[in-house]
């Protein structure tokens, strides 16, 4: 298993500003992902955070809007840039721990409100 923490747990931001969300894991993991959960909705994959290389983004998500860093095997950041009210969501990071297993462990999420 893995213990994952996220900072901040919640924030209220002004339109046009940026917020960086941190995800810290208590062990080295290969696979790390960022998801978005809009109010009352399910989770949508934003990108796979790759250590040592650029993140792999899903359709509809671009690096300029959601830059991701992955400097090592225990840490990643997601920045939500030039925010608008439509970016109000819960942002979750998750990790795959066991080689060959698809089971993922999730952080507690960051609840972002953009006004």
């Amino acid at each position: 298993s893995a213990v994952i923490s996220q900072k901040p747990s919640r924030d209220i931001c002004q339109r046009g500003t940026s917020l960086t969300i941190q995800c810290q894991v208590d062990s080295q993991v290969t696979m790390m992902f960022w998801y978005r959960q809009q109010p009352g909705q399910s989770l949508t994959l934003i990108a796979t955070a790759n250590q040592g290389s650029e993140a792999t983004y899903e359709s509809g998500f671009v690096i300029d809007k959601f830059p991701i860093s992955r400097p090592n095997l225990t840490f990643s950041t997601l920045t939500v840039s030039n925010m608008s009210p439509e970016d109000s969501s819960i942002y979750l990071c998750s990790v795959g721990v066991t080689a060959g297993s698809y089971e993922q462990y999730f952080g507690p999420g960051t609840r972002l409100t953009v006004t």
């Binding site: 994952i4 979750l92 698809y102």
Partner: protein
């Protein structure tokens, strides 16, 4: 885009009753998982069923998988108030570890 659809969207039952949630998906999968989310917080992994399995049990949970119909069901027996949460099915993406989530079922268990 969301691959899975779940029904019902919301379910309210009394403590002690069984709760059944269904999930459908669109493409071939290696496995299907179920997760629980309490009050918009992080997700907790419940159970994984592989594509070559038809049924799996874990405590009060029973999961079935029908790959011919591209559907799965999650049964929670003898429900408790603490089972109140949203439940999501999730499938792999053609062997990638990233997941595609269903639309979710909000379960309310009345004490």
């Amino acid at each position: 885009s969301q691959q899975g659809e779940e029904d019902p969207q919301a379910l309210s039952i009394q403590e002690g009753e069984n709760a059944t949630m269904n999930c459908s998906y669109k493409t071939s999968i290696n496995n299907l998982q179920w997760y629980r989310q309490n009050s918009g917080r992080g997700l907790v992994h419940l159970i994984l069923i592989r594509s070559n399995e038809r049924e799996k049990h874990s405590g009060r949970l029973r999961v079935t998988l029908d790959t011919s119909k591209k559907s799965s069901s999650l049964l929670i027996t003898a429900s408790r108030a603490a089972d109140t949460a949203s439940y999501f099915c999730a499938t792999d993406r053609g062997g990638r570890r990233a997941l595609t989530f269903g639309s979710g079922t909000r379960l309310q268990v009345q004490p």
